[in-house]
Symmetry: C2
Amino acid sequence: MEGLAALSLDALSSVAYGPEAIVLALVAAGSGALAATLPVTLAIVLLLVALVVSYSQVIAVHPDGGGAYAVAKKDLGVTPSLLAAASLVVDYVLTVAVSLAAGADALASAFPALAHDKLVVTLAGLALLTAVNLRGVTESARVLMLPTVLFIMAIAGVIVLGLLRPHPAAVVGTEQPLHVHEALGVVLVLKAFSSGCSALTGVEAIANAVPTFRTPRVRRAQRTELMLGALLGLMLIGLAVLIHRDHVAPRGEVTILAQLTAGAYGDGWAYYATNLIVTLILLLAANTSFGGLPVLMSLLARDHRLPHLFGLRAERPVYRYGVVALALLAAVLLIAVDADTHRLIPLFAIGVFIGFTLSQVGLVRHWATDQPDGWLPRALINGTGALLTTLAGVILLTTKFLEGAWVVVIAVPLLMLLFARIQRYYTEVGKELELGRVPAAPDRRAASLVIVPLGEVSKLARHAISAALALGDEVVAVAVQADPDRTRALRDAWERWNPGVRLDVIDSPHRSLVQPIVDYVQRAAQDGRQIAVLIPEVEPRHRRYEILQNQRGLLLATVLRARTDVVVCMLPYRLSM
Amino acid sequence: MEGLAALSLDALSSVAYGPEAIVLALVAAGSGALAATLPVTLAIVLLLVALVVSYSQVIAVHPDGGGAYAVAKKDLGVTPSLLAAASLVVDYVLTVAVSLAAGADALASAFPALAHDKLVVTLAGLALLTAVNLRGVTESARVLMLPTVLFIMAIAGVIVLGLLRPHPAAVVGTEQPLHVHEALGVVLVLKAFSSGCSALTGVEAIANAVPTFRTPRVRRAQRTELMLGALLGLMLIGLAVLIHRDHVAPRGEVTILAQLTAGAYGDGWAYYATNLIVTLILLLAANTSFGGLPVLMSLLARDHRLPHLFGLRAERPVYRYGVVALALLAAVLLIAVDADTHRLIPLFAIGVFIGFTLSQVGLVRHWATDQPDGWLPRALINGTGALLTTLAGVILLTTKFLEGAWVVVIAVPLLMLLFARIQRYYTEVGKELELGRVPAAPDRRAASLVIVPLGEVSKLARHAISAALALGDEVVAVAVQADPDRTRALRDAWERWNPGVRLDVIDSPHRSLVQPIVDYVQRAAQDGRQIAVLIPEVEPRHRRYEILQNQRGLLLATVLRARTDVVVCMLPYRLSM
């Protein structure tokens, strides 16, 4: 049950927009066409059954999880795995956007005053999620339990109570005139089907996360997958029956699910509570992407398809890059479609169906290669699944291309190209670094010279010269001075101290510090010794003093690293202030 | 003449707004009050004479330049020097803002269509100046010669031709009803006087820059100062006579100077050319601040009153900080007053008069201390100058306090406080570092351990181990691995290479890189050896690849520097890509 809560939010929450997407597609042919809602839903549930059975197989074959990307990489080769990765990235972004938009719809159903500020509501929700994830939450399945159970109970209540009542308990929202501009034909039904398939997004999540289950992992994951399938299927059918019986039609400011809720519970507190629960579940569903994308990025980074940095997803700054990138992309999408759920759905489902198809095809390939006992029926099941999801994907793409799917058709290949380009770069770097070959023995003969840039004689100078003496065969201090008086004072102080290290003073009439030192270092580097420049840095205890210290050393270090090949060392000296 | 061009733009260009400020103050008492323009101008020119004589003395006594800040520091002590520095900073910002606003007025006089977009015009001008200064121009006096000569000729032409004509050649702008809301009394005359004093801003510039003159410096600088005084005085009187004779009154969209220009040249091409020259000169006057502020900041930094970083004004990034800061402050001011020149003038003159007064008082102190031959008359001249400028400053402050001068009254002490606070911090740091005392001899006994974090065996590893061997008494390589297979592969590769250096592999199941290494380093640092962590970095040749490399090393270096006291070394390895 905890597994269900943690991994099924995305799938279960899609009942908030899936059935509505069907109704909105059909209503183009007038209210009579709404009768097709039930058969279309049944077709979708049939596809769901195929998917659940297929994913149970995926779980058994890939107990190490990883989802479509891992499966495609293992069984299908480079291009399909890049395709899987790109479509997954697109879907993580879209899950955030769609869930937030649908959440704003649910909230606006309870509080119609918000109906005109949906974009603001979604962006506020996004800001909340971003802030929470930047702080870093360890998402606990237990926390998700209560809302998930409440959500399932609320929707079950809507269906059961709704079916028991002869008439809806209450009607909310204002009726709208229908603009009939299409006949109910094959194309429209296919459109409704493909829109409704958005209700299936998320059923792959369990198969991606098998390693997070307790042993026996495979058994538990399969059981959870079946439970999710059963729940989602029952909900979809139940809601479709209610829509069919009560002739529910779109009412602008109130969602279909909210209308069914009012029909079952009336328009009292239970109506508000249900809408709020739906909003919360959608918000949590959006949050799953913030957990999922960094994992995918880390897998891609380890395969050299994203900057290696992202492989370190346990490092807070790295994780934050991912969170901010996801939030920005989702914000751009939400602003582009003005937080309209139904303009996002055509974009949404395509990536998911690419993933579905690749997983199934990968399994067929797996069965055909390994040929274990009884492989043929299994391959047939997965092959059927692949056929169905390909079909659904093609339908989606063709019926929704102009409605926004083209964005995905452009974004996915671009991402694939990016991944491939990065991988090629790393391969070339690996060649240049002779990765995998035994390098020559390290050079043991080089003597070393440590150069210490100093401004004055002080405890800091002592600290730096001591460290330099420990590291170098020879140590030399170097100062840059514009003022002859100060040069003399520095030389005098140096002689009084007499640290046994030479001090070179470079004359710099133009008050430049960096270039004279770079020149000095480059001259010193000509004799083949290993040169290190040791820059002592006063580290104030309070951050607000940082602009007062360090800056010159950092500037020098940056330029030395960019323009010379010497080792640049920073030595901290901590102040009590 | 070149000295005049380079250093007098600020002063000369103020004829574009000084006389106008007088007229605008007087007109509050009706058009009859405008007759007071001439006597008020004569009083201002009298003050100018006192200032020019005084500054000739300043030049002789302080041939090393430095202006009010240097004089106050040398002769008057800490608080006056902080006051001088703060008012100079404020004036650099205001010079930019006032010159740009007056430039927009001049431009709008020629092209009335711009009259409603003055703010946009000033911000565009500011953007241009910022861009030019960010790129870094070596301001050549020769380039400034031509516009300066053209400007002087144009204004001289306005005065001479204007006086020769019995009637104005042309009248531009539309007459406006005058709102008389004050009687012509002492207060109004004082207000007009204090506003008109804005014409004197900039006469101190030559004394600040004596070292830039060719020898004999003092003589040349004094001659230039006298020339500037004569030119400015003649221009102010000439323009005032014209205003008096032609009964020139403010006409909203056209400046007083533009009206006089039309009166002298007519409204043909010469009118446009003159307004454009005035605009250009004002833009160049604004530019002088971009040259001056970094010098002042560098002086303050060397006196520990600004972050030491700013002492390096020859370094491009440091210089850029100053340019951007100045541009932002000027932009804020311009936006706050909607680019209205006359709302800036009350803020403008006060800082200048603080500087004037401090310079004179400093000289009096100097004469009284040194008592050279004939010191008494000199001290009397400077004392009179100080008295006059104090008087003017007090008048300015009292008559203009509510009109905006309060901003300066708040900003100057805040800046003084900031400088003092920074200085105190550096003093305390100096104590902690025992600056000026002879430190103990450096520690020569410490052995060193160089830790090299590595991910794989490659040419990069060889490069890093070689450098580490040159620097450390002992070298150890350390790798962080999550995956046992990869750990084994790494160990195998290491043994095949056999570089004679130990490899420690740290197990990190959470895919964290930084914390395990920090822990490892802290354990190693316990035995008193000098620890250095040498981080090899692959440096791509193209900037666009930088996100693909380096990032892990930089992250590690940042955390190590923040949390440990070890030396952190970066070793670049340059790629051919």
